[in-house]
């Protein structure tokens, strides 16, 4: 049974008094202290529930006011609508997101109170309650049990697959803060270090790959590059051209202040048109190389028809690079088997490099004037 705010303080005291009468070893002073602690806890739970109810009502009222001001229906207003309305009504130049006003349901914003589980007699469920950090020690012992299992299991009889180590590439352990949040308990640095030692031991064992799912619960993918995510615009969908009945993909990309839109159809004869001009109007050899690069890498020279339009600042290398990126994205859409090659050769990555502004009191972005004493 979970103790909720509706349980009266008196009843909780009564349950505890019956509990203390059962325990024989406890001294009266310590049981009295424990009773007081439990009473405090119950009061805390009650107050928290009351506060959450109050905040929930406040939220509903705020939402109604917002809906009124924005001329919307309060019942159909989503969280997205609320955010938009707040952004509109309270414009701010502050860049830190934490400094901006928000309106959200209280259970999303306020810290959660972890309620303890008690059994019929009022005793806490689970022996780890007395360790004060039940979730942490639960995890620690689970790691130990799993380590032992991996270590002992099979021995010599292990198959090659069962001897595999856990692949650490692409993910890292949750940091102390995130680990504490996930466990729902405050943990000290010392405790975190202990946990990390146990985890590292587990993954160092041959056969730790069998515990992949458990281990990955406590690791997170490295911020950006995990999975099939691309750095830059996504791969566009494939469409069937209504007139020619050919598979077509249209992608957009940008380099510096140049924007390119490329339309690629398969079963072509190698036409390559950039802004209404053919490829040979590019004087520079490097520009032609760059434009043809995705076709060279994916072995599709002379098999597609490509039309590109660009706008923006332009430039000798920026235009070909922008077209190259959009073309690569379209090829990856039309031929999914070429995606890996294009990714590895860095053609599906947006080039984030830009001109760095020059600094005051310096001749350039990084260059400094020579310092002279006199």
């Amino acid at each position: 049974m979970l103790i909720r705010g509706v349980v009266s303080t008196a009843s909780s005291v009564r349950t505890f008094s019956s509990l203390s009468s059962l325990s024989t070893g406890d001294s009266p002073s310590s049981s009295g202290r424990a009773a007081r602690a439990l009473e405090m806890y119950m009061r805390g739970v009650k107050e928290h529930d009351k506060m959450m109810g109050r905040e929930g009502a406040n939220f509903e009222r705020g939402k109604r006011h917002l809906a009124n001001m924005m001329g919307m229906e309060a019942s159909t207003m989503t969280q997205n609508d609320i955010d938009t309305a707040i952004r509109y009504l309270f414009p701010s130049g502050l860049s830190d997101k934490k400094a901006l006003p928000i309106l959200a349901p209280p259970d999303q914003v306020l810290p959660r109170l972890h309620k303890l589980a008690f059994d019929e007699e009022g005793k806490p469920m689970g022996a780890r309650f007395y360790t004060l950090k039940p979730a942490f020690y639960q995890l620690l012992s689970e790691v130990a049990i799993r380590s032992e299992k991996v270590d002992r299991y099979g021995g010599e009889k292990k198959t090659i697959k069962e001897k595999n180590h856990f692949q650490t590439g692409g993910s890292v352990w949750l940091n102390e803060e995130k680990m504490a949040k996930k466990l729902g308990e405050k943990i000290s640095t010392h405790m975190y270090t202990q946990l990390m030692m146990a985890m590292e031991h587990l993954i160092s064992l041959p056969g730790s790959a069998t515990q992949n799912d458990f281990i990955m619960q406590w690791r997170e993918p490295i911020a950006a590059g995990s999975g099939n995510k691309l750095f830059g615009p996504p791969i566009p969908p494939v469409e069937i051209d209504a007139t020619t009945n050919r598979r077509t993909a249209t992608a957009k990309a940008d380099v510096k202040a140049t924007y390119a839109e490329v339309k690629v159809s398969d079963a072509g004869k190698g036409e390559f048109i950039v802004d209404g001009m053919s490829l040979d109007t590019f004087q520079s050899l490097q520009a032609r190389e760059t434009l043809l690069c995705p076709l060279i890498v994916s072995d599709l020279l002379g098999r597609l028809s490509i039309t590109a339009t660009t706008k923006g600042m332009g430039g000798e290398t920026a235009v070909p690079r922008a077209v190259r990126h959009a073309l690569s994205l379209s090829i990856a859409a039309l031929y999914p088997e070429k995606k890996e090659v294009l990714t590895l050769s860095g053609l599906l990555t947006r080039d984030p490099r830009k001109r760095e502004r020059s600094k005051v009191n310096q001749p350039g972005a990084r260059a400094k004037w020579i310092w002279k004493r006199r």
């Binding site: 938009t84 952004r87 509109y88 414009p91 701010s92 130049g93 502050l94 860049s95 692949q167 590439g169 692409g170 993910s171 993918p221 490295i222 911020a223 950006a224 590059g225 995990s226 750095f231 520079s284 050899l285 490097q286 190389e289 760059t290 043809l292 690069c293 060279i296 890498v297 000798e316 290398t317 070909p320 690079r321 990126h325 090659v341 990714t343 590895l344 050769s345 860095g346 053609l347 599906l348 990555t349 947006r350 080039d351 984030p352 490099r353 830009k354 760095e356 972005a365 990084r366």
Partner: protein, 218 residues
């Protein structure tokens, strides 16, 4: 209509060293042979982003590391197109001269003549690579020219730089064109002759003379 807050941002942070975060970006593969091979399961590039391919690294069949590097070394004021024109013109001159020589040569001489200008440039630069470098080290207010060991890529760079400076000197005040000077210098260097080879030997001599300063290293 949504009014977006617009405040003028003044950057107070120090400029970062690279637009690519070193933690999540790895170098692209520009070699076609290597691209065909599958990556191993624990390769970092399976999980991380790949940097965008540089414009001068397109895997064309004529891609040549030495020529590309020479283009970059000979570049002034970021005008790479101009520099590439000069270097490729020099290679064309070499090709023409070699082909003329090949035409004139007798039948048993012909196979000995190298017709590839790229090959001649590679050999020429390779012959000019110094074995050591001189670096100034200040001890007790005096700067000593101390010989240091050199890595292969730096040796290549220094060879190219020596050749470039000699060619620029020759092409000063419009006496010759840079491309002619470079062509002549590359051809001589491939035979272990010429001003760049001399400069290299002189450097070696100075390194030998300054051997006594070697303990100032590090």
């Amino acid at each position: 209509m949504i009014i977006r807050p617009c405040a003028r941002l003044i950057s107070t942070s120090a400029p970062s060293s690279s637009r690519y975060d070193a933690k999540v970006f790895r170098e692209p593969i520009s070699d076609r042979e290597q691209l065909r091979k599958p990556l191993s399961a624990d390769d970092e590039r399976n999980f991380l982003f790949i940097k965008a391919l540089k414009s001068d690294e397109t895997p064309t069949f004529y891609r040549n590391h030495v020529v590309d590097k020479l283009v970059r070394v000979c570049m002034t004021d970021g005008r790479k197109e101009m520099s590439r024109k000069n270097v490729l013109a020099a290679l064309e001159i070499i090709k023409r001269k070699q082909y003329q020589a090949w035409n004139k040569a007798s039948d048993d001489e012909k196979p000995k003549i190298e017709l590839s200008a790229f090959k001649i440039a590679e050999v020429g630069i390779d012959n000019c690579k110094p074995l050591m470098k001189l670096q100034g080290v200040t001890r007790g207010g005096t700067t000593y020219q101390v010989p240091f060991p050199i890595e292969d890529s730096e040796a290549e760079f220094r060879a190219m730089k020596m050749m470039r400076d000699i060619c620029r000197q020759k092409a000063k005040h419009g006496e010759t064109f840079f491309k002619d000077a470079l062509a002549a210098e590359l051809m001589l260097a491939s035979q272990n002759e010429g001003a760049t080879i001399q400069a290299k030997q002189e450097l070696h001599k100075t390194c030998e003379a300054n051997r006594a300063y070697a303990h100032y290293r590090g």
